[in-house]
């Protein structure tokens, strides 16, 4: 019959251990050991221990869930529920895809859908969301548009043509080579930057997502 109080105590301590799961290990050990010691002291002070006595001791200590909540607060451990809400899901994946290529499939609207998903998600902070919105509006859609625009300009360039007002003849004079080279290099750099920027932004946001996922998993 003497096993019943022992079983009660054992069950209580196990329950406490489980509730303290997200408290750092050394602190969890310390709290569980101290409470086990408390129970042992209280039981040693009883002349004829009854099951009711042991139940009163455990009641006095309080619900393990309540002790664990207090411990989380004391040690600034975030409760497990909010971290679970940050778990990346379809919204985050949708945001990344639409931000990058949404503007290619449906100009402007596709990219806007990406922006809305980005800002609705809990997985990024405001700084990340601003980066995602500013670099680059339209995503690859804008890049492609600009690429074709510069390509069209380029085909008309290379030389400047003037219609002679007196003869009506078209005089085309090749523009000085060195000037064009500087302009070309700049243009290529700008176009390259506009193509590369959305890809880098997407990779960055993806990295932050994985980072976040790991943080949520270890918390």
């Amino acid at each position: 019959m003497s096993t019943t109080p022992d079983k009660l105590v054992e069950r209580y301590l196990k329950h406490l251990e489980v509730e303290l799961d997200d408290v750092p290990r050394d602190r969890r050990r310390e709290i569980v050991d101290e409470i086990a010691g408390h129970i042992a002291e209280a039981r040693a002070g009883l002349e004829h221990e009854t099951e009711a006595d042991v139940r009163n001791i455990l009641d006095g200590l309080g619900d393990p869930a309540e002790i664990a909540e207090d411990a989380r607060e004391r040690f600034d451990v975030r409760p497990p529920v909010p971290t679970a809400a940050y778990k990346p899901g379809w919204m985050e994946i949708g945001a990344l895809i639409m931000l990058l290529v949404g503007g290619v499939v449906i100009p402007i609207v596709g990219w806007l859908v990406g922006v809305i998903l980005l800002w609705l998600s809990n997985a990024w902070n405001v700084r990340d969301k601003l980066i995602g919105t500013i670099f680059v509006p339209g995503g690859l859609g804008l890049s492609i548009l600009l690429f074709f625009m510069t390509a069209t300009l380029e085909s008309g360039g290379g030389s400047t043509c003037q219609i002679d007002s007196t003869t009506g003849q078209n005089h085309c004079t090749p523009v000085d080579g060195s000037d064009w080279n500087v302009f070309d290099v700049l243009k290529v750099l700008v176009v390259a930057a506009i193509i590369v920027a959305p890809i880098i932004t997407t990779m960055y946001l993806g990295y932050r997502l994985r980072h976040h996922q790991q943080a949520a998993a270890t918390a």
């Binding site: 709290i31 408390h38 040693a44 619900d63 393990p64 002790i67 207090d70 004391r74």
Partner: protein, 115 residues
């Protein structure tokens, strides 16, 4: 809703001041956990769940306000004794001054007037 908020406020006040009650209990002598809990429980309304003292003691130790030593007990396994550090003493003194001012100020307004 008002009653709920009041309960929450009282619970927070109890939780916030409990650590100073523990420090005060340790200011004269070192004590072990069970002994501390028993002393606190003697005063009604201070501790609702005795078990919550242990996370608090662990936190105080990590903050360097108390230190612990294991001592053999005549009646069972060794006990972990808690003792105030210099930092703990300073924290208690600072709180005591603030608390007396605060308590007097609140009393001044909410205390039942005699007669």
């Amino acid at each position: 809703m008002v009653a709920g908020k009041q309960d929450a406020l009282l619970a927070q006040m109890r939780k916030g001041t409990l650590q100073y009650c523990v420090l005060a209990l340790l200011s004269d002598e070192e004590r072990y956990g069970f002994d501390l809990v028993r002393s606190l429980a003697e005063t009604d309304g201070m501790v609702t769940s005795e078990g919550t003292i242990y996370p608090l003691l662990s936190r105080l130790r990590r903050d360097g306000l108390v230190e612990t030593t294991w001592r053999e007990s005549t009646s069972g396994p060794p006990r972990r004794y808690y003792k105030l550090t210099a930092a703990g003493r300073a924290a208690l003194a600072a709180f005591r001054d603030e608390w007396e001012r605060f308590r007097d100020a609140v009393d001044h307004f909410v205390e039942r007037k005699a007669g």
